[in-house]
């Protein structure tokens, strides 16, 4: 059964086992991807009628579009802050949840709960909470005297976008914490014991033991979060739809706006391919970095 060197390229049982997943992925992803490439290279009517071949025309137009450039920049800020914020909060939370304290099960459950709310519904709830006239946030802030009257949070990008980032962080924490918690519980307790005997304080233990041992889990969590957040649609779409004046668009919301509101599937397809290239290169870069560290 085995080929040269003891390892076959694809022995039959392996084909049988991974085959279905390859077929499924090719089916779900292959044709749509082909469609997108085709759309991106043509002038396409609102209703998907392919008109003229335009080559790189759609790409050139998109790259020159000021809203696209601003959205690209904002996407990087969005991804950076949401993923960064998520990691900064999730790591200590996971460390705490890994300690043996009373009610730990309850605490873990509560921290994981937001995961059970769909992103679209969570966005709706937060939108309502931040409503200028009837929202809980304004009710609370005026009640404690922090604000003289309610603020229209979603009216300006300076308030709306940071709120969206904060919500992005809040909804990413459960998954991230869960992954990290898995990593933490794999670290045997006796190495801490040893470190303590060597006189390492809690901070030293965290820096010298926990972080390095947790590294691969942080890596997995980061890359998955990055892919997710980069493509994350509901929060911004439901709360501000990229407005006012296109000042809260990220690429995916702008793409949706172009494709489905303005009826321009060609440029929208071009943006999806550009987005794909961006995530792809980030992932590659990350894998390369990880590989180097390991070597």
């Amino acid at each position: 059964m085995r080929g040269r060197g003891g390892v076959a390229a694809l022995p039959f049982p392996v084909i049988a086992m991974i085959g279905p997943s390859l077929v499924l992925a090719a089916f779900v992803v292959g044709y749509p991807l082909y469609e997108i490439v085709r759309l991106s290279l043509h002038e396409v009517s609102r209703f998907g009628m392919i008109r003229a071949f335009t080559g790189w025309g759609n790409f050139a137009n998109v790259l020159a579009d000021a809203t696209f450039q601003a959205s690209l920049w904002r996407t990087l800020i969005w991804t950076g802050f949401v993923v960064g914020g998520t990691m900064v909060i999730s790591i200590p939370v996971a460390v705490v949840l890994n300690l043996d304290f009373a009610g730990r099960g309850l605490a873990r459950t509560i921290v994981m709960l937001p995961w059970s709310v769909s992103l679209s519904m969570a966005s709706i709830v937060w939108l309502w909470a931040f409503n200028a006239d009837y929202g809980v946030v304004n009710t609370f802030l005026t009640a404690i005297g922090a604000l003289p009257r309610g603020l229209a949070w979603m009216a300006r990008p300076e308030t709306a976008f940071p709120i969206e980032i904060a919500i992005g962080i809040v909804v990413s924490i459960p998954f991230t914490t869960t992954v990290l918690l898995g990593g933490l519980s794999s670290i045997p307790g006796d190495i801490y014991e040893a470190a303590r005997i060597d006189g390492a304080g809690p901070w030293m233990q965290f820096r010298m033991l926990t972080l390095p041992l947790l590294k691969s889990f942080i890596g997995i969590a980061m890359i998955l979060n990055m892919i997710h957040v980069f493509n994350s649609f509901p929060i911004i779409w439901i709360m501000t739809q990229g407005g006012p004046n296109d000042t809260t668009h990220i690429l995916i919301t702008y793409l949706y706006d172009l494709a489905f509101r303005l009826g321009r599937p060609g440029p929208a397809a071009a943006i999806s391919l550009i987005m794909l290239v961006i995530v792809f290169s980030f992932t590659l870069l990350y894998l390369r970095m990880q590989g180097r560290e390991r070597a």
Partner: protein
């Protein structure tokens, strides 16, 4: 559990279908199923169309009408994906302003061949016009509305305009008084659909136009600048509700319903909402304020029949039924729209309804959205211009100039 039995059945059915395809064309259809896409206007929309479908099926045994109700925000996307996947319904409601795009892709059926003089004569003349392109009729006006100024009687009486403001100067004067008394004067819409239209109210009243006859952007005109400058000063001086870019039409209507907004320009269906939710609210309806002339916005939604429908005869029969007096009156009444057929207009509900009559009387001066390609892009460009001015990041002149360039890139293409 995955229902394997059902899956298997489906597979064998697929085989049967393939087999049939080999055979010569199938026998003539006995029973037609007409698929109808309708947009959600209110909680009454779905039930109304379901009822019509049931009545139709009863009167035409063997035929069936299937209704799909879609939210307005999702309607365009649904039509787009359906059409590009060749899976669209037979009949759909659309915004009349989209019609040209459908016609250009040769997607919708001209209806003139189905209509006789008697059928045409059912409609109030002006309402059939917006859905005619190059002398062919592609849509029937299923819903129509115009815009008027709703005012809170108590607030406006205190401000010295008991029958509502007539001009923009009076609007500003009233709003100043209302503000001094601690209220919100004139509602400015800064979010969602129709931010652009809200600006056009003033633009038209100063004699401007949005798109010129040769299909170029025409809103960057003295009238346009004047309109946007007026709104900007209203916003900047705090004569509107605060945070205008957080308020879509629904939000403004809610403020008005609570008696916290002096004036707002909106559609007739607010009458129904107020009657249902806050029957005690004292309010009046006046024409859109004048600058140099009288103007309002009128809008229709059309129902179209798709060219690739295989059941056109039955689909038309259903349309014919929808536009008879009974269904029309029931629909228009429930949704709070304006009559589009003569039979509705003659019904005592409408003739006796003073508030609705205010809107009907505005129709001679009404502007419709022009049927041009690129209207959505123009709307988006003007919306962005208005928002940038309300946010204080651009002057009216600069914002409209930028919007003009953007709109011209899309218009008439």
């Amino acid at each position: 559990m995955i229902d394997f039995k059902a899956a298997f059945r489906s597979w064998s059915r697929l085989g049967a279908v393939l087999g049939l395809a080999m055979a010569p064309l199938a026998a003539p259809a006995q029973a037609d199923t007409v698929r109808v896409t309708v947009s959600y206007y209110s909680a009454a929309t779905g039930p109304f169309f379901e009822k019509m479908a049931a009545e139709f099926a009863k009167a035409n045994p063997g035929h069936e009408v299937k209704i799909e109700v879609v939210n307005w925000n999702a309607l365009f996307q649904k039509l787009q994906t359906d059409i590009s996947g060749n899976a669209n319904s037979d009949i759909s409601i659309i915004g009349t302003r989209w019609l040209l795009d459908f016609v250009r892709d040769d997607l919708v059926e001209p209806l003139d061949g189905y209509m006789n003089a008697d059928f045409r004569n059912r409609f109030i003349g002006t309402f059939l016009n917006p859905s005619q392109i190059k002398a062919k009729t592609y849509g029937l006006p299923i819903a129509a509305s115009a815009r008027g100024l709703y005012y809170n009687k108590a607030m406006l009486t205190a401000a010295g305009f008991p029958t509502g403001p007539k001009t923009w100067d009076e609007v500003v004067a009233a709003a100043e008084k209302i503000k001094a008394a601690g209220g919100n004067g004139f509602g400015v819409q800064g979010k969602g659909t129709e931010v652009d239209v809200y600006l056009y109210y003033a633009l038209w009243s100063y004699g401007g136009t949005v798109v010129s006859p040769d299909i170029k952007a025409a809103f960057n005109s003295p009238a346009g600048v004047k309109a946007l400058t007026l709104y900007k000063s209203i916003v900047d001086r705090g004569l509107s509700q605060p945070g205008v870019t957080d308020y879509d039409r629904t939000d403004l209507q809610n403020l008005f319903k609570q008696g916290r907004l002096g004036m707002v320009i909106t559609a007739p269906f607010l009458i129904n909402q107020i009657a249902k939710e806050v029957p005690t609210l004292e309010y009046g309806i006046a024409p859109v304020p004048t600058g140099t002339t009288n103007a309002t916005y009128a809008v229709t939604d059309s129902v179209v029949m798709f060219k690739n429908s295989k059941v056109k005869a039955t689909a038309w029969k259903f349309l014919d039924f929808l536009f008879t007096a009974g269904p029309r009156i029931e629909f228009t009444k429930a949704e709070g729209f304006l009559p589009t057929t003569k039979a509705e207009a003659a019904d005592p509900y409408f003739t006796g309804n003073e508030r609705l009559q205010t809107f009907v009387n505005l129709l001679p001066n009404a502007h419709f959205a022009p049927t041009v390609t690129g209207w959505e892009d123009t709307a988006k460009a003007v919306t962005n211009a208005a928002q940038s001015v309300y946010l204080g990041s651009a002057t009216p002149e600069a914002a409209l100039k930028k919007a003009e360039t953007e709109a011209n890139a899309a218009l008439g293409k």
